[in-house]
């Protein structure tokens, strides 16, 4: 690639962080900002907005900032990830790409824009390089991309017959077609990015070429050091925190059960802060369980409700440990990155991306996934040994900064 002239990069995400505060949107946006700040790059950001009243008539596009474009999308096909409004792709999106003439189109996600957008980019700008960051296991798994079977068991490999068993109203042939279809677009991608080795391994097993996937961690905003207060070395209570959506697969119920299992005097030495929201859209059974447990453990567990991403640093600094008890594989949870960024060790399940990012007994502790008894033992250990925290915290590696991440991306783009 010509390295003297300014490269134009289009970053496509499935939302804009001002409108949706998900980890994926934030990561995409951070990359966009960091690249655009460099002299050798000019970047544009495109994300979805979902409010029909907020769009203009006759075009799906609107602008939120000079270099940040929104597109309105609805009715997305979540089975095979295609854009239902094809004209949006081959007319509006095409026009946009033709105008901007990007050298690189980086799909941070294909949700809402459509996986067929990749084909349109290839048609319009055949010389542009296409990069795709993989999030979750969407292409592999129809169960929200989590690789958990519909009977709650972990899934290790997909197949048309197995996927049909999870979703009986879709035939094995349909699952086969889905895979064939998605792969037909993936063949047009020049390079994939996976935020964890675990995720990369899953996609390689699914059929992507090994050398086509690079493992790059998401960059993190630097922590403002002045706020890094030294905590009292011998706190009366060990403080724990859970951050994230209160969904079934994030494991809050396992965590609450684990706290409940602790003997009374151990309980007194701990306190758990729960930050997050979204309980009301979960299955009723789960909602009821969590609510009951929160009520029962109200002396030891505080539920604080939702939080803004920028508040996370402050909230984490008040605690000793961050707990990520997810019962699915996870990829590279933002929570773990935030915890490490703020110097806090992590307690997490022993599978997937969590087990990769948190090294057991080095910068955190593992417990057996889904087992409250196992987590309970870890919590007890943590409660009885307050010095454990400082010892593990000292081993935490500095996270990749946004600038470093942008540089890594730059090197990747160069090698295409």
């Amino acid at each position: 690639m010509n390295s003297t002239r300014v490269k134009k990069v289009l970053i496509i995400a499935h939302g804009h962080p001002e409108l949706n505060k998900g980890g994926g949107e934030i990561a995409a946006y951070n990359l966009f900002k960091a690249l655009d700040e460099r002299e050798d790059y000019e970047a544009l950001f495109m994300g979805r907005q979902s409010v029909p009243g907020a769009q203009h008539g006759g075009t799906p596009f609107s602008t939120i900032a000079e270099k940040e474009v929104l597109f309105y999308g609805e009715g997305f096909d979540v089975f095979k990830f295609t854009q239902p409004n094809k004209r949006l792709l081959w007319h509006n999106f095409r026009e946009f790409v033709e105008q901007f003439k990007p050298d690189i189109v980086h799909f941070h996600h294909y949700l809402h824009i459509g996986i067929d957008a990749i084909r349109v980019v290839k048609n319009v700008c055949p010389d542009a390089k296409i990069v795709l960051t993989l999030h979750e296991y969407l292409a592999i798994c129809h169960n929200s991309g989590q690789m958990i079977k519909t009977n709650k068991k972990l899934c290790y490999q997909s197949s048309p017959a197995d996927c049909h068993r999870c979703f009986p109203d879709q035939s094995p042939q349909n699952f086969f077609l889905r895979e064939l279809y998605i792969k037909s677009f993936f063949k047009l991608v020049d390079q994939f990015i996976a935020p964890s080795q675990f995720l990369k391994d899953r996609y390689v097993a699914w059929g992507l070429e090994e050398n086509k996937i690079s493992v790059l961690e998401n960059g993190q905003e630097p922590v403002i050091l002045e706020r890094f207060d030294k905590l009292d070395n011998s706190p009366k209570q060990v403080r724990l925190a859970y951050f994230g959506q209160l969904t079934q697969f994030k494991g809050l119920d396992v965590l609450l059960d684990a706290v409940d299992l602790l003997p009374g005097k151990v309980k007194k030495r701990l306190h758990l802060d729960v930050h997050g929201s979204g309980l009301e859209i979960q299955p009723i059974v789960f909602q009821e369980r969590v609510t009951d447990m929160l009520n029962k453990l109200s002396k030891h567990v505080s539920y604080h409700g939702p939080y803004e991403p920028h508040e996370m640093a402050e909230l984490i600094q008040e605690v000793d440990w961050v707990i990520v008890p997810s019962s699915w594989w996870e990829n590279s949870p933002l929570v773990i990155q935030e915890a490490f960024k703020n110097g806090k060790p992590v307690i997490c399940s022993d599978i997937g991306g969590m087990a990769e990012k948190v090294r057991n007994e080095i910068d955190g502790l593992h417990f057996r996934v889904g087992k409250a008894t196992s987590l309970s033992k870890v919590l007890e250990r943590v409660a009885e040994n307050p010095v454990l925290q400082a010892r593990l915290a000292a081993n935490i590696k500095k996270p990749v900064s946004l600038i470093e991440s942008a540089q890594e991306h730059h090197l990747l783009y160069q090698n295409l």
Partner: protein, 645 residues
């Protein structure tokens, strides 16, 4: 449902119908149905006999399950709710030879006006005219609730008329007009030993009929000597014999356990049911009678209503194929002598009406067609067309496709509008040019392919099913290269795989299928085996036939043999038929196993236990195919055997 009763529906809240009146030794049995009022105790059945009037409340009658009534009333079909049928008994002491019936009606208590149904006056002779309608009886027996079964009247019925075996019947439930006469055997008088019934009398054409029925003699010493069709209005008056057509000699006899069982007798032979195709029947009129004669001079007749199937092959086949079990050993003869010729005529009439031809060719071109296409791919579409999007996504990865003409043939007029929108939306995503062709009607698999071939520009065709997906780019180029460099090649096929990677097709061979009485079927060797177990043999190899799901053929040769044959009803065997037609002209069939595509075949036909109508249609097609090709296939098999030795 008449047997001598006419009914009138009054404008009232009760809905009902009286169906049968059976005089028996102890009185009168009435069968009918009645929909419930809120209070069924309000409904009475009033019987007018001679000078008397008897009244019986409906609630005291035995009720039984009538799902057919429930359906027509749009009501709950549940066995415990749809108890619309009723059996009413009227004991009539001192019953004589005849019952003079004034009328039977259903009346609601609260109003004299509320007469629901009326049986017209009729003389019912006790001895002779006791009729059993097998279908209604069968239904009553089969679905009778426990309550019904315990009712005394019911027990009497059973004693008199016998049980019907519920476990097996070919056609009792469907034979709605079987009639016979039963007499009071215990009286020991001079009785007619013959029993006669019919299942179907179909008009096949102006001159041809197909008759299916049964005849037995309950006395083993008395033999059936003739079966006769006549259009005489009164069968007992002998008239000119040219009004009669005798056909006993031409029938094929088949066993009928559903008939034999209730009669509780042993027979000397299995000549019970008969099937007969009467190709030249000069009897006029819509009302025929069927007469059976015995050697000893007895005769028995039944009216034979004609059902006109002369232009409706689908209805005829549906009716026919519910009457027979495909694996019976008589099937082949029945097909060859009777059903085959009948279906052939009806199908020919249907075709003559123009259902399978069209002069309309609506073509919509998406994108710019290649100027000199190397191959024309023809893909018939029927109802499900999302396959187009998947195929295009695969074609888009193959640079060879820019020299290929792609023709999608829509064979379903109802989906044309939706399909046009779909193509319009999807073409610009993939930018693979293709044509959408529509003939304005549903032509069937053969018709749709032939239509596509008629506008194809390249000199080589590839017939492709919509559910076949290419696996690797370059597959078509490879096939064409081999095709063009092989002399006397007719059809060229590729390996087809299921979605799990196991083999769906790797060439076809002919096999005599014992469950179809040794008629030829096309087998797919290695079906279901993995590629590991059946490695690819590189290069071309000659095979007996190739599947139409992915078939390459020279356009001229295709036209030379008349394209695909339209006489296979609803599709099947056309591809084998094509390969054999080519073979006759000296062109052989080949496989190129190193080229493989996915074939998402939905489900294979269960050839063994399925009595489904469509399976039986396949048997008809199988029979046609064997009739036409038995000799050639046998020769071909022998030649290959000799080659191996």
């Amino acid at each position: 449902m008449e047997v001598g009763a006419r009914t009138k529906m009054a404008h009232s809240a009760i809905k009902g119908h009286l169906e049968y009146a059976y005089p028996h030794g102890d009185g009168l049995l009435i069968l009918g149905w009645c929909s419930e009022l809120a209070d069924s105790s309000q409904v009475n059945i009033i019987l007018g006999v001679a000078e008397r009037e008897e009244k019986v409340p409906l609630s005291s009658c035995v009720r039984y399950w009538r799902p057919d009534v429930a359906i027509s009333l749009n009501a709950d079909k549940d066995e415990h709710k749809a108890l619309y049928g009723f059996v009413a008994t009227f004991p009539l002491p001192e019953i004589e030879d005849e019952i003079e019936l004034v009328g039977v009606s259903l009346v609601a208590n609260n109003s004299d006006e509320d007469i629901v149904a009326l049986l017209v006056p009729e003389r019912l002779a006790v001895e002779e005219t006791m009729r059993i309608n097998w279908s209604i009886w069968y239904r009553v027996m089969k679905h009778a609730s426990q309550t019904l079964k315990m009712h005394q009247a019911f027990e009497n019925l059973v004693t008199r008329f016998g049980k019907i075996d519920q476990s097996e019947t070919l056609s009792s439930a469907h034979s709605s007009h079987t009639t016979t006469a039963l007499s009071n055997e215990s009286e020991g008088e001079n009785l007619n030993p013959l029993r006669l019934g019919f299942d179907l009398c179909a008009r096949i054409s102006e001159k041809a009929l197909l008759v299916i029925g049964w005849v037995v003699s309950v006395d083993n010493n008395v033999v059936v000597s003739d079966l006769v069709l006549t259009n005489k209005t009164n069968v007992h008056i002998s008239e000119d014999s040219s009004e009669e057509l005798s056909f006993l000699e031409d029938v094929t006899w088949i066993p009928r356990t559903d008939v034999i069982q209730p009669l509780k007798l042993k027979f000397l032979n299995n000549k019970v049911g008969f099937v007969c195709f009467i190709g030249n029947c000069s009897l006029d009129g819509e009302e025929l009678s069927l007469i059976a004669h015995s050697e000893t001079g007895d005769s028995l007749s039944t009216k034979l209503p004609l059902k006109d199937y002369s232009a409706n092959p689908f209805a005829l086949s549906e009716h026919l194929f519910t009457l027979f079990a495909p694996s019976s050993d008589y099937m082949r003869e029945v097909l060859t002598r009777h059903i085959g010729p009948a279906m052939k005529q009806v199908w020919a009439t249907y075709r003559k009406q123009g259902f399978l031809t069209t002069s309309s060719r609506q073509v919509i071109q998406y994108g710019t067609e290649p100027s000199n296409p190397k191959v024309s791919i023809i893909v018939p579409l029927y109802k499900r067309f999302d396959f187009v999007e998947y195929q295009l996504s695969q074609f888009a990865l193959d640079p060879y496709m820019k020299d290929v003409e792609i023709i999608y043939v829509n064979d379903d007029p109802e989906s044309q509008a939706g399909l046009i929108n779909f193509c319009h939306a999807n073409y610009p995503v993939f930018e693979i040019p293709f044509k959408l062709l529509h003939g304005g009607k549903n032509l069937g698999y053969a018709g749709a392919n032939n239509l596509g071939a008629s506008i194809a520009k390249a000199d080589t065709l590839l017939l492709l099913n919509s559910d076949v997906m290419p696996r690797e780019p370059g597959w078509l180029a490879k096939m064409l290269e081999h095709y063009k460099t092989t002399p006397n090649i007719g059809a060229l096929g590729a390996r087809l795989l299921y979605e799990d990677g196991s083999i769906q097709h790797d060439g076809m061979t002919y096999v005599k299928f014992p469950f179809f009485q040794d008629m030829w079927i096309c087998e797919h060797p290695y079906k279901g085996l993995s590629e590991k177990v059946t490695p690819v043999k590189p290069g071309l190899r000659e095979v007996e036939a190739v599947t139409g799901a992915c078939l390459m053929i020279d356009k001229e040769r295709f036209k030379q043999v008349g394209g695909l044959d339209k006489n296979y009803i609803l599709g099947d065997f056309e591809d084998s038929d094509l390969c054999l037609k080519l073979r006759v002209k000296g062109y052989k069939s080949y496989m190129l196993s190193e080229v493989s595509l996915y074939h998402l075949e939905r489900q294979s036909q269960n050839l063994f236990a399925n009595n489904d109508w469509k399976t039986k249609l396949t048997i008809y097609n199988c029979w046609q195919h064997t009739e036409r090709w038995d000799v050639l296939i046998s020769q071909l098999k022998e030649a290959r055997l000799n080659e191996l030795n």
